[in-house]
């Protein structure tokens, strides 16, 4: 939560004034020229296969004939993930071809519930070749060629993991709702970046990163400090959100914290992602393009190096 207030606050104050006096309405405007670039959303973790979700951007207005989610996926692309001494060609796997019983496991990976996976034909590229599963400290190169002749490439690293010192719950609203707090000792080298995920056992179908979940050590290099995180939103959670509990963890939850180290390019992407979500609708913010590490396309190819901790929130 430490990085979030700074940016939100900076953008919030003029918004406040605007809200008091401004009026808003829909407007007809031509926004021509929207592109259909390929977009990569890919990641790799130690001991797990690389997962690439490969879609195509859609223009907003005019010539968009987008009608269903399934049209977004780019099929039959040649996607290769390599290390310095090994290369593997990924294959495309779609949820329609996965037996229903396996969907929850797949959902865990993708953060989607099995009902959604059953209703849309969700496609990913991956590999069962253990030689290309993630290893801490290695670089992973991504190369893509589409059937339309587009070429994309990217590189990411799985850095050394850094574990949290401790984890605890602090009530925020009443006695039962609150945030999770963690203590981190940042290594003395400058250039460490992190991303936090949390999953409530039995309530979330995957690890969820809240807004402001990524930060780097520019201000905290070499120090030990505490930070608090809210619970991230997941619109596709199997259990619907309870009124008033959005954003909070609750007494009785068993929460698994997945605290990952990420490389700088990966961090820049998530930081720009948070900025774009926060700044949309704010006239005082510059347009916030996402800082992609993909050459030839949009999106991110990122390595994660997790450390896991479990916190049982007791009254």
């Amino acid at each position: 939560m430490i990085m979030a207030p700074k940016k939100t606050i900076l953008f919030l104050f003029p918004l406040i004034l605007l809200v008091l006096v401004a009026c808003e309405r829909d407007v007809d405007i031509e926004i021509p020229g929207g592109t259909r670039q390929p977009a990569v959303y890919g990641w790799i973790e130690p001991g797990a296969p690389p997962i690439i979700i490969f879609t195509r951007a859609q223009p907003y207005f005019g010539s968009s004939n987008f009608s269903s989610f399934e049209e977004l996926f780019i099929h039959n692309a040649s996607i290769t993930v390599s290390t310095d001494n090994y290369s593997a060609l990924l294959f495309e796997l779609c949820s329609n071809s996965i037996p229903d019983s396996l969907l929850p496991v797949v959902g865990q990976f993708l953060g989607l519930d099995s009902i959604t996976l059953a209703s849309v034909n969700y496609c990913v590229y991956t590999s069962f070749d253990a030689n290309i599963f993630g290893v801490v400290g290695k670089n992973y190169y991504l190369n893509i060629a589409t059937t339309e002749g587009e070429q994309l490439s990217a590189v990411t690293k799985i850095p050394q993991p850094v574990a949290l010192d401790s984890l605890w719950f602090q009530p925020e609203r009443g006695d039962t709702l609150g945030f999770i707090w963690a203590r981190l000792t940042d290594p003395d080298t400058l250039g460490n970046a992190y991303r936090w995920f949390a999953q409530r056992q039995g309530k979330d179908n995957g690890f969820i990163a809240p807004y402001g979940s990524s930060f780097d050590d520019k201000f905290i290099n070499g120090t030990s400090f505490n930070f608090g995180v809210p619970r991230g939103d997941n619109d596709f959670a199997p259990t619907p959100e309870v009124e008033g509990e959005r954003g909070y963890f609750k007494v009785g939850d068993t929460v698994i914290a997945k605290f990952c180290t990420i490389d700088m390019a990966h961090f820049q992407f998530w930081r720009s992602f948070d900025t774009q979500l926060a700044s949309n609708g704010n006239p005082f913010a510059a347009p916030a393009p996402l800082r992609s590490n993909i050459t030839g396309g949009l999106g991110i190819w990122g390595g994660y190096s997790p450390s896991y901790d479990t916190l049982i929130i007791t009254p």
Binding site: V27, Y60, G281
Partner: protein
């Protein structure tokens, strides 16, 4: 070879200076022109010698000087809004003639030839210089009842407002930092209150406003696009006067008067808003915004003392502050944002003789901004600011009626705090780096001669030579070009030179008189700008930081070429002009794409800048009716302004965000009788350039945007009509009052302030909805102000 050529030019120049007319004895008549009612010295008043059909104008301190052969002359003194005064002079020795002009108390008949002041339009070489009559401004409709000088400047062709409710402005395609705003010679770095809804100038304290947008004479420098010279009133030296007004959102009071009659006087003027007090009842108890407070105040003070005919001393000061407070105890959240300017000027006028006038000024100017926020036990504050110590020496030399010479020197010591931050959580202090201060010396010398080459041709030729030296203490963070991490730091000690820039700034303008009522003018100017305003957002904010030129940031260089045709119609009752310009701007500064406010912390802000090139061109059409019951002006500008940066928009050129193809402004005043005055303002501006997303894609099951090329889209057009009516109350010798009714945005057009694209739903379940939305600020806003004076 070179040296003898230079010597030849110098000698020729001085020969030009002393063009012999007849070998007859010459004497100088000189003196001061004052306002007969208030004792204020009048600048730009006309002094016309009827026998020679030549004249001059008083300088910024009310001083004039004319050298003529021995003889008898009739001198006519005039100024718009005042009765002409003709004095007989027998010139058989150097003569001092001080006069006082009395204000007109009745309307001037439309057909009557207005004073030779009208000749300013066609005669002066100051192309692109516009003087604003402060009293006239007060009759125009005012936003929320607040008369605003900066808003009126935006009604002139070539000057564009930065946006709805924003008093920052752009002149001929240049950025908001390219305008030099001076209040009694002190630089005002942020002339806006409340994010630009009002300016810091309290019209009651202002005597005169001059805008230079075409050719800036050599005594001005440091900015590329324009100079706005605001002069405060001296203070009535004859009697105590009180002026004030009570309005819907703010009130003001000005007290001025003599300390010693006709020798020294003072003026104090203040203004404060009470928006916060008024808003409170409208904010619901349950609203999370309860606890919001905002106020601003301005304080102007002036004092002058006239020792004798040769020496005068002036002191002026300005102090203004905005404070925005917001707190939401439920969320444990609080924000406090104070910002403000402070300026002080001490000036000494000295008259060496009837031909040589000198002004020495010592000036202090400061602008600072602070943003402090807290969330539970997390506290965070950023501050930025700029502080100047400035000395100026200006000479006015009038050797003969053909030459009007100015020369002088200028020096400023700048201290910049681009942005420093502190952050703490409970007991832990975050490492946000040292409090960064940047230091620089800026200096210039200039020379300008305004002279008649022939009967038809008048030339203003000047040269300014300026220099800028960034000095330590300074820490340069050397960055790795690919990773962006700091790999080295270079430390400069106190006073050690980091980087020196210097260069010439030639200024040339020419007026060619075609006939009695029309003239052709042309100008070329070159300007250097050593300080820059780096802005993160699409709108000017107090968070924008001023930074100096450094080892990484070069000075901006502007070259402007302009040509114009000026014509007076109907016996000088109408002034018209057409001006065409072309400008280039080098070393323009922008933040790199994706820059964030906290990028600047523990880093040099200029490590996040990218540099590029700008060019602008356009045509300005202007028609002004100077007097009569119905008067005012209309202006139309057709213009383009473009930028090209290697690191922005993939190196492709793009329109600057304030590129506005067509811009129309109309200001009208109708005075049917002594009791009523009606005013109307109409503006039309074709949409601002804007960057919006034009495609979307999925990341982590979230819809994210891809943006269209920078500034490739346009907002809908902006247009607005304001009306005002002023009714004078019963006037006694001692007490005057008037009621002013203003309606802003009469037909309540919801002008676009900002556009964005809103997404709701998700493509996964087919509920995705994408809509473009427009945020507007002000619908129709009526207001009432009661003004009084005694």
């Amino acid at each position: 070879m070179h040296r003898s050529r230079i010597a030849f030019l110098v000698v020729s120049f001085f020969q030009l200076l002393s063009i012999p007319s007849f070998s007859q004895e010459k004497f100088t008549v000189s003196g001061y022109v004052k306002d007969g009612a208030t004792g204020e010295y009048m600048m730009a008043a006309n002094v016309y010698v009827i026998e020679t059909q030549k004249g001059t104008t008083t300088n910024g301190y009310g001083f004039y000087s004319i050298t003529l052969p021995k003889g008898k002359y009739k001198l006519k003194f005039s100024f718009i809004g005042y009765q002409d005064l003709t004095k007989d002079v027998e010139l058989n020795g150097n003569t001092t003639l001080n006069v006082q002009l009395n204000p007109d108390s009745y309307q001037i008949d439309e057909i009557e030839v207005v004073a030779d002041g009208a000749k300013e339009n066609t005669n002066s070489t100051d192309m692109g210089r516009v003087g604003l009559d402060v009293e006239k401004i007060k009759t125009l409709p005012a936003f929320m009842g607040e008369v605003d000088i900066m808003k009126t400047i935006q009604l002139l062709p070539g000057v564009q407002a930065a946006g709805e409710g924003n008093s920052g402005f752009y002149v001929r395609g240049g950025g908001p930092d390219q305008n030099l705003i001076l209040l009694d010679e002190a630089v005002v770095y942020n002339a806006s209150h409340l994010f630009g809804f009002f300016s810091v100038f309290n019209a009651d304290a202002v005597r005169n406003v001059e805008l230079y947008k075409g050719s800036m004479p050599a005594n001005f420098g440091g900015r590329l696009a324009s100079v706005v010279e605001v002069s405060m009133k001296e203070g009535n030296s004859k009697e105590i006067k009180v002026d004030g007004g009570i309005g819907l959102i703010s009130s003001r009071l000005t007290v001025q008067g003599p300390i010693k009659k006709d020798t020294s006087s003072f003026m104090i003027s203040g203004r404060r808003t009470y928006i916060d007090v008024l808003m409170k009842p409208f904010i619901k108890e349950s609203s999370p915004f309860r606890g919001t407070g905002y106020y601003f105040y301005d304080l102007n003070a002036k004092f002058n003392y006239r020792f004798n005919d040769k020496d005068r001393l002036f002191f002026s000061g300005y102090f203004g502050k905005d404070v925005f407070d917001f707190g939401n105890k439920d969320a444990g959240f609080g924000v406090r944002i104070p910002w403000g300017n402070a300026t002080a000027t001490v000036r000494w006028n000295h008259l060496f003789n009837s031909k040589l006038f000198m002004n020495v000024s010592a000036i202090y100017s400061k602008y600072d901004f602070q943003f402090a926020a807290s969330q539970d036990d997390f506290e965070f504050a950023i501050f930025s600011g700029i502080q100047d110590w400035n000395g100026k020496l200006d000479f006015f030399y009038l050797p003969n009626p053909r030459h009007n010479i100015k020369f002088g020197a200028f020096y400023t010591y700048h201290t910049f705090i681009p942005s420093s931050a502190t952050a703490r959580q409970g007991d832990l202090e975050f490492d946000t780096g040292d409090r960064v201060k940047l230091f620089a010396h800026e200096a210039a010398i200039y020379f300008n001669d305004d002279f008649d080459l022939t009967e038809e041709i008048r030339i203003s030729a000047g040269l300014r030579y300026s220099a800028f030296n960034q000095v330590g203490p300074f820490k340069r963070y050397v960055k790795d070009p690919t990773l962006g991490t700091t790999i080295d730091t270079i430390q400069y000690s106190s006073g050690e030179s980091v980087k020196l820039y210097h260069g010439p700034e030639p200024r040339l303008s020419m007026r060619y008189t075609l006939n009695k009522v029309s003239s052709l003018k042309a100008a070329y100017t070159r300007n250097l700008q050593f300080i820059h305003l780096a802005s993160l957002s699409a709108v000017s904010l107090p968070t924008d930081v001023w930074v100096p030129s450094t080892d990484r940031v070069n000075p901006q260089i502007g070259n402007q070429y302009s040509i114009g045709y000026f014509r007076n119609l109907k016996k000088d009752a109408y002034e018209t002009s057409v001006e065409v310009y072309y400008k280039t701007m080098q070393n323009q500064v922008e933040y790199r794409e994706g820059a964030q406010p906290d990028d600047d912390v523990k880093d040099n802000p200029d490590n996040n800048f990218v540099f590029g090139y700008g060019w602008a061109y356009g045509a300005e059409f202007f028609l002004k009716k100077r007097s009569g019951k119905f008067n005012g002006w209309v202006g139309y500008t057709l213009s383009w302004t473009k930028r090209r940066f290697d690191d922005l928009n993939s190196g492709e050129w793009f329109y600057a965000k304030f590129d506005r193809r067509n811009d129309v402004s109309l200001a009208l005043v109708y005075e049917p009788n002594k009791k009523w005055t009606f005013g109307a303002v109409f503006v039309y501006a074709q949409g601002n350039a804007i960057t919006l997303p034009y495609s979307w894609y999925m990341v982590q099951d979230q819809v994210v945007f891809e943006f269209a090329p920078r500034n490739s889209l346009r907002m809908p057009a902006y247009h607005r009509l304001d009306l005002s009516a002023t009714r004078k109350g019963k006037e006694t010798k001692k007490f005057k009052s008037s009621w002013n009714f203003s309606i802003y945005n009469v037909y309540s057009r919801l002008n676009p302030y900002f556009l964005y694209v809103d997404i709701s739903g998700s493509p996964i379940d087919g509920t995705l909805t994408i809509k473009a939305k427009q945020v507007s600020l002000f619908p129709i806003l009526p207001s009432v102000t009661w003004n009084f004076s005694f």
